[in-house]
Each structure stands twice: as structure tokens, then as C-alpha cells.
């Protein structure tokens, strides 16, 4: 049966089925990639252990976003008391844990 004479409902089910199959294949891809990249993850973990690193290198624009877990307790006022957070990456992150506690 050619697509031109297929019923609308058949086309719809064909689309949904291919979508579901493709999504399933992506899940399989995710699972395979996870095992394939295990070695790469271990390499990074070893580098972290060897160099005693504490943070991911996600944002290099400010010291408190480069080392999120090491940031001091008043990063929002890093330059002067009224200098509020102005780096874009600061809007994706949260203050490090326990910032509300005394140092």
C-alpha cells in the first residue's frame, strides 16, 4: 500500500509506532553509550582523585562558579557590598551547601 492511498489513521499509527520505536532505540543507545563511556568516566574520576580536584570545569567566568563547592560565603558581594550577582552562570547554579551555617 503506498503512502498516497493510506488512510489518515494508518499514517497516524505509523508515525506513533515509528516514534515509539525510535525512542526505544534511543534508550538502547543511551544504555550502550553508558557502558561504552565507562572507561572515560573512570579516567576522569581517577584524575579527580589523583589531583584532588573538587569541582567540574563548567563555568570559568568567575571563581565561585568555577569551583562551586569551594565558593566563599559572600560570593554575591564579591567586589563590594552592593555588587550583586551578575555573571550569567550564577543564574544556573545555587550557592554551595551549608552557606547559611557559620564557617
Amino acid at each position: 500500500m503506498s503512502i498516497a492511498i493510506m488512510r489518515n489513521s494508518s499514517l497516524f499509527f505509523l508515525y506513533i509506532t515509528s516514534g515509539a520505536v525510535l525512542l526505544g532505540l534511543l534508550l538502547v543507545h543511551a544504555s550502550f553509550s553508558e557502558s561504552a563511556r565507562q572507561e572515560n568516566l573512570e579516567e576522569k574520576a581517577k584524575l579527580v582523585k589523583m589531583l584532588k580536584l573538587t569541582d567540574l570545569c563548567l563555568f570559568t567566568e568567575a571563581r565561585y562558579t568555577r569551583h562551586l563547592s569551594q565558593a566563599d560565603l559572600n560570593t554575591a558581594f564579591q567586589d563590594h557590598p552592593l555588587s550583586l550577582e551578575h555573571f550569567p552562570s550564577g543564574s544556573f547554579t545555587q550557592p554551595p551547601e551549608r552557606t547559611s551555617e557559620r564557617p
Partner: protein, 415 residues
Amino acid sequence: MRHWIEKQRYIIDFTISSLLRRKVKNFGLLALYTLIVFILASTMFFTYSIKKEASLILKGAPEIVVQKIVAGRHDLFPVSYIDTIKKIRGVAAVESRLWGYYYDSLVSANYTLLTPPSNGGAADTAQSSAKITVVESESGGQPVKPLFELGGAVLEPGTLIIGNGIARLRNIGKGDYMPFRAFDGNVMNFRISGTLSSQSELVSSDLMLITGEDFRKLFGIGNSHVTDVTVAVNNPSEVEMVASKIRKRLPEARPIIRDEILRTYDSIFNWRGGMMIVIFSAAVLAFVIFAWDKASGLSAGERREIGILKAVGWETSDVIQMKFWEGAMISLTAFFTGVILAYVHVFFTGSLVFEPALKGWSNLYPNFELTPFVNLEQLTTLFFLTVVPYTVATIVPIWRAATIDPDSAMRFTGE
């Protein structure tokens, strides 16, 4: 059963024809809906994968890092404090770290300069796939010149091992020289003896490994101070206790335990944080508008259509089934398209859409491929967040419209 299936197929055929009669409106709706699913799914895939990767990579982070805080800010840590920490029961080892930042005005980028630990895990790294080995040169029992070797690159005074991001940004590599302006204004030239692997960019893109001696010369830090110290604890269940003892004995110290580091990355890109709440609010708002548009009633044309259908013999249940399929078709199509596009976006194109926002103002950004940590739970959550509310919102107003008299529905004029 066959009769029921055939009936549903006829209803679907009719529904698609009906949707195609209002092409612009319905394709617009589908495109917007797909976009919302795409943004939500991309955000979910990206944040989950980065959190999961962070938890796996950072499990080897130091058990406790101790900083010195002065006036609320991170300050240099006196070496004399190390003995105080060593005396705490349960502490297995205390090691100092030397690290800091250097702003390169030539490319407007910040580098992280770090001195490799003098006893940095030789046994572990011997098995590493990156063939990283650490050699410690000793003289008189005291380590004086830690050598760090990576794929043949030896770190010695006057040399650097740089992260791949720096090599890419400055277009430099092994054998090239990099000038640095020291604290006293003098220029120090360092030869690059190697680069860290591109595979490890997520943790090392902006790293520069430098010897302790050079680090102190560059920043003018005396031997009596270090940046901070790491503490290893004998019993992992005593980490909290040791941290609180450190706080008690050194009131100006701030211990950061590994769990806090992991929790910091677990809450990164949290939905409550800045941009995330903006993205989610926009998505939720758009969804509310969809739902409101559907729930607040039908257009005159749709009412007339229902009236005619009922007049030609359709039952209320048939009309409701038709509208159910209409909602299901739009939402399922948007769901599958949006989720598949989101997967391709995050794991094949390196989050192209998010990249400008994630890069921010930094010139030095790591090139990394996220490991796709995607599971059925995430997909189910997305499904219930997007498909179900829309389908339900479509049916509710239809119940009202489908029960009205066909005559009055058809008399309703104007669209």
C-alpha cells in the same frame, strides 16, 4: 473487538481531516507544543546527565577540604594549622593543596593553576587508561621536587601541563612557551611539557599543572602558607565528626566534606535556581494558556461541527471519543517529536541551544560530550507532565458541548 477498532479508525480518520481543515491553527499549536516538550526534555536530559556524571566523577574528591576564612572570604591557610588537624583522632592524613586563578588578559580567560599532590595516587594511576604516572623524587627522605608525568610529559620547574581547553583557546601545545606576569610584575616564561587529554575536559579544561616552587614564585606565596588542605579520615562514618572537631579547634577554618561537594552538584541546575525557574515558568505558562484555551470553550465553528455531527446521528460518546483522539494525536505527536529532538540536541549536538547561555561570559569553555543517562522514569515523568494534562483539558469542555442540543449548536453563528 474488530468492530470497535474499525470504529476508532474511522473516528481518527475524521478527526485528522477535521484538524487539517484548520491547518494554520493546529500546526501552530503542534509546533508550540513540540517546542515546549523539546525545552522541557532537553533541560531534563541535560541536568540529569550532568548531575549523574558529576556524582560519578567526584566520588574521588577529597573527603574533607579545609579552608581558612577571613572576613567571610577564603584566605591562605597557614601550614602550622596542619599539625592541629593531624592531632584530631580519626584523621588518617592531611595534605596541603596549592591552587589559584590566573587571568590571561590576552584571551580574557581565567585559568586554574594547580600543583599536583606530591603523593598523588601512584598506585591508582598506574592502571589508568590515560597512562598517567606520578613519580616522586626524594632527597634526604623529604620530597623536594615532585615530578608528574603524563604520556611522557614530565612536570618540572619551568614547565606546565595544560588542559585541552587552554591549548585550544591559545592554539598552543607541547614545546611552546607561555609568558605569565608574576605578582611582582616580572614576566615568567613556562614551557609546555604536555596537555591533559581532551576526554577529561569536563574536569580539566582550564587546568594548568605547575610545580609548587613555580606556583609560589608566580603568586608570591611563602612556604608558611598553602591554599587549603585536604583531610583523609580513617573511618568514613566519622567524616562529619572530624569536620566538627576541626571547626571547634580552628574556629576560622571552614571544612567542606565530600558529601557537601556532591550535594552542591546535585542541586546544580535545580528547578528553583535562576534561569531554570524562568524556563519552567515559561513552559508552564504556555501550557496553562493551551489548557485555558481548550477548557474555556470551543470556537463557534467547532460548536457548529459538533451540532451537525449530532444531527447526522453521532452520539455524545462518539463526539467525546473524537475530541479525545484529537487531544491524544496532538500531544503524542508533540511528545515523540519533542523528546527525540531533545535527545539529539543534548547528546549529539552538545546542547547547541543551551550553549550560549551556559558559556556566559567565559571565553574558555570545556568541550565535552555528556554520557546519556536517560531512563524510562524520566520519559514517564515527561509523558505525564505533557501529554496527560493536555488530553484531559481537551475532553472537559467537550463534555459540555457534546451534551447540548444539535439545533441550538448549529444556530450559533459567527466564528
